[in-house]
Subunit: 280 residues, 6 copies
């Protein structure tokens, strides 16, 4: 399934690195047919995500590469952990190296960041949720990395859920017409969520029977009041301006979900590398 | 030119958000034909990069959108700076919003990070250089954002320059065969760079007439010795383990270039947004 | 938006007809530069759907074609109704003709079929729903045609809703593990539906708190009992083996939704044509 | 060959169903690594077409799937006939199921319809021919299904034959300039056919040496006269307004070919399904 | 039409030259916004082909370029003939230059070569025909260039005509089964041609009613006998080993067609260039 | 690596030949399942290039084809040399034949032409270099064929080197601003070359420290003076108007490189063929 969904992306990324001419350095310095043996390792503590995607880069360049996975996606690892051992055509391993590492470092960085937040809210019952603030071209993979890190996903995109935000309300002429329009046109599989900035708007939404609310940029006090007002009649998502230092206090207000754009758009890459020597 | 090189990427990214069904929320809540007027703004201080790419997202969805750019790529802006005003079909503006912001925030984040490093080494004559540690699918745009931030680019990929690294040396059987193979096979437009870990390797490389060296993971003292040994006979690039706090001291050793992977793989996204109201 | 989502499909379809050599007949028989004036018309009664897609075929071949739409998507029309008048390069109009008509006839056929079913259940409050039994490559357009005809859409695909069917239950080891697995892993925007074959399974699903049931291949009596048992605690969808002659009786059982595969996979194409003469 | 020509289409169709997120239901309900064993069967009488295309969907998702074909394309089958047995990764089988069935049902529907018409004209020597009224994106496969059903193909598209229709004649200034232009420009491998509405036009075409005529919307009497007038000097194709009830009487007029748009644009899908249980 | 059929190819070719980084030279040396005025000219005598394709390269990079065509496809020109004047963004003109010239030179070279052969057989009534020996990726354009030069086209590819060659005969078990199989399976728009090496094979083919023969590698004497034997009952194509020096003598044997692979695979490129100066 | 970089191109080229309908002739004349055994051979003396690309065509149509390579890329062969033996599905071998031969003949033609030039300058120490005057879509492969023939490559495209030509100088306002702009903006891996038409321009360039010069359209006398003036301070490339007859005399002037557009745009195709018989 990974191959069907992501092979095109990995191919494009390999070509982005190989350009038109291929790997000049390997071709100029390493004899054709040389075998290489490599160790793919993580150099700092973190959560692994994207290993299969990374390995796909090697497989696409050397279909006969032999790969032995040691530690897979979702594992929390210590520095200097070997994820996989590879053996194959040395030029191909070198040509795929950077592509593989770029995927692995990026996705593991997101999983690692997510895990740290999930750990921070442990015991509160709150779910950590990502947003559509993803890196262009990597939406599905980044959402996957969030799941690997213990988070859950909000909408994948504009077509698999309705989220009525400020801009929609303003252009629709208010909360009521927006919510009613949404309910009328949405199929029975589509969930409707409403962004609210104030408790008044929350009350209006509740009176309209809205099932999910995005509480935008509210501090712990307001959130607690929102939880009280809602009294279990709807799902509540806190969002906006939440940072690692405040996420626990937000979680303790009793909201159901906390959504964080920086899980995907600003996670630091995890340090991964490939060590190569002559193979058999 | 932007359109030719990046239109496919922006289209793919729009489709990544629109999915198969399009923007359910806008279609359900905003009457067809509604006009929207928007302000694209930066909410924190930084350097703008990627504005034309972001605007392309709007243009691809509404070819008749009217756009008035106020502040372009390369500008250092204060919080709450308006970059552009847009007027067009409200549903199209909403459907393109997230794609546009994701490009703009990501690339401006890289330009902002780069600028802060370039400022930190001001007066030393050192050039700040990015690497191939880029986000899959965004190599050329991220390299552009580095230039916007005042940095310069290393190789674009594996085919437009030769960089002999540890793995190559090991597989080629040493520095000498690697360098000689490279020189023999490279065309006259291809520059050859050699990664060295020790001063001995640097001396060997100099004796072989290598023009550019990547000095890997050397501290200020070693770098200063390398500069002295080289005495202007080659270009020197410091790389590896350099963080914002140490970049100035590295720059003051007299190297020509400092390369930093985190300019592209770990820059924090800049906070940008779109405010919409009814248009004329 | 249509252009972004469907331009590739229309281009591919035009190329499917033009092949490598283009329109031999027009090039051989009609002088270059000849202007044509055309009337796009429906030759039998029905509901129009896909007009903009059809016109896109003309626009892609002759960007300067002038088009005057008379009757748009969703209109119920009589035989010999003119939908649009076109004037442009005669060779381009001829080369796009068949592609345009194939889209228009196919989608209007689906809208027409859907409308007839929607009319048949009028007053019962039941919604007519399509399935994933669509023509390869045309999923989103066919779902659109169903909406044009007055129906609503079930899931777009496998990733925007959970529908636990017989095969899943069998492989998951029963209803309970399947439903619990789904609930645990699904995000808060994902709706869960369960297919049941018997009233016992319905009761089990209700006890597990399932929100939507697909009642598979049940006759009116069973459906009525299902409605009674459910008593408003869940949404009920009747599916399987329903034909035009029985749809009304199914609708009168009190279910909420009726889903029909033949809306999309077996609707007869509507008869549409293009009449051309010399333009100005 | 099938893989080269149709792999892209099958991949696109799988992605149309899998979307960005993949198969939520299978991932949520069935443990990773579960094996499934399936039976692909036809539930009503008909002619099988497209089995290899359908199986390609499974192969693309699970390259290691084992498949045992029982009944191949072209077979006339009874209800409940098993076409193939499959064993593979359960999640992959489920994710490919709908795509496979949609291809198989659609193409078998066309083959079944074609066969019934071919049977209806048995003994008359008439060939049943399809047209360019095909479903967007499926031209080549539908033409293949027609052949499987015993029909033959007219042109594949605009570039592999010349068919001068009403619109061309009108824009070319008459039959003579159209035919002469076609003859002058066509290579020696290109056949020229002329659409005529009246016997006068047929006579004019014969006098110009035209080899193939499309007799548009003529009833049995006119067709018989056309056959008599032509006296073997040209190939005659009856077309337009022919329905299952009239096709035999048309065939008995002595024409060589009968072309039918509804073979491809309005054939009812054949009912096919996949039954899955736990595999070994 | 050109845009629909060839835009992808021209885009790919532009990207082949622009790579990932765009035109380094223009960006580094010419200020943004500089206007350029150019003259596209042919530097040696020849026949122009591909001008619209070449101009498309400029249009794709600068949609606002203004172009004034002076001499179009099919014109026989003297050295130093101006084909078109262009004015637009200087960087875009420079970036498109090489792509435009490569198309124009290649296709004009084919048209020029074709015209010289067509001229050489003037008065004999023989048609000069190209083959499937074309440059990978350029089949349709090269066939077009042959027509521009006064030649006609054989098959476009494997799917629009039947040509039974040596390899087929050998694998089919002889001429008779091959011809009969072809006749039985081919639709009424498909022409059947048979390659023969000897007059015996020609006689056998004639007795089977074959309509077109490819006479492979026969000298003038044999060809004359073939013409005599055939006596107008079939079309005769001479092929194989014919060079510019012998083409007239072959033409005078009375065959209908002469096919030449070197029209497309070995024609010398025509010398074309672009002269640029500052625009207004 | 070849597969990753060129599979798309070979697929497109196969489809260019197979069209929508596949190989009519093979399907009509050769029974399904027939095995074929083939010999791929060169019919005239030359240098082989592109064999792996050619074989990829067979592999893509018949993944199970067995191939035995006898003579690989870079070999100088006599007429009637067998390059490879193939055995596989007869229809697939026939369907891939022309595509394979077109690649092999085209690239071997370039390698053969290059080798003859390289031989002609033997002993002078001059490198033979290709240009960007390549066939649209085949840039990387043609540059590869030049290397196979013993030549070396100039820039791959506009983004991997700076070459300041007449047009740039004119639009930049002279040599000095062009060279200074280039030096300021180019990264440390980018080489800068300057085209000069006169010795004065060469002197100006040398005074600006330019490293590589393209000496355009200079005869042997001027070139000798240029070599003398330069005195080893820069690399010199002779270009423009050089033909096979003059290349040796140019090489003897002491320049470092000779670049020739006709290596790639006008090399005659090498005569290659496939002989097939029944396989086991």
């Amino acid at each position: 399934m990974i191959q069907l969904l992501y092979e095109d992306l990995v191919r494009r990324t390999l070509r982005e690195d190989l350009g038109r001419g291929g790997d000049l350095t390997s071709e100029a310095t390493i004899p054709s047919g040389t075998r290489g043996a490599g160790t793919l390792l993580v150099r700092e503590a973190g959560v692994v995500a994207g290993l299969e995607i990374a390995l796909l880069a090697f497989r696409l360049l050397d279909p006969d590469v032999s790969i032995e996975v040691q530690v897979g996606d979702g594992s929390a690892v210590e520095p200097a952990t070997t994820l996989a051992r590879l053996e194959g055509d040395a030029r191909c391993l070198l040509a795929a190296e950077r592509t593989a590492l770029n995927f692995l470092g990026h996705l593991s960085g997101i999983a690692t960041t997510t895990r740290s937040v999930v750990d921070a809210v442990e015991g509160t019952g709150v779910r950590i949720v990502c947003t559509r603030k993803t890196t262009p071209g990597l939406r599905a993979l980044e959402k996957y990395a969030v799941r690997v890190g213990g988070g859950t996903n909000h909408r994948t995109g504009l077509d698999d859920g309705i989220l009525i935000k400020d801009n929609h309300r303003r252009l629709a002429g208010g909360v009521r017409p927006a919510v009613e329009g949404a309910r009328e046109r949405a199929g029975h599989m589509v969930t409707i969520e409403l962004e609210v900035d104030t408790l008044e708007e929350l009350r209006e939404g509740l009176s309209l029977g809205v099932d999910v609310f995005l509480l935008d940029n509210m501090g712990p006090d307001l959130l607690r009041q929102a939880v009280e007002i809602t009294a279990g009649r709807a799902t509540l998502e806190a969002s906006g301006g939440i940072i690692p230092e405040t996420v626990r206090s937000i979680a303790e207000t009793g909201v159901d979900l906390i959504s964080l754009g920086w899980l995907t758009h600003s996670a630091r890459s995890l340090d991964v590398s490939l060590d190569l020597k002559l193979g058999r």
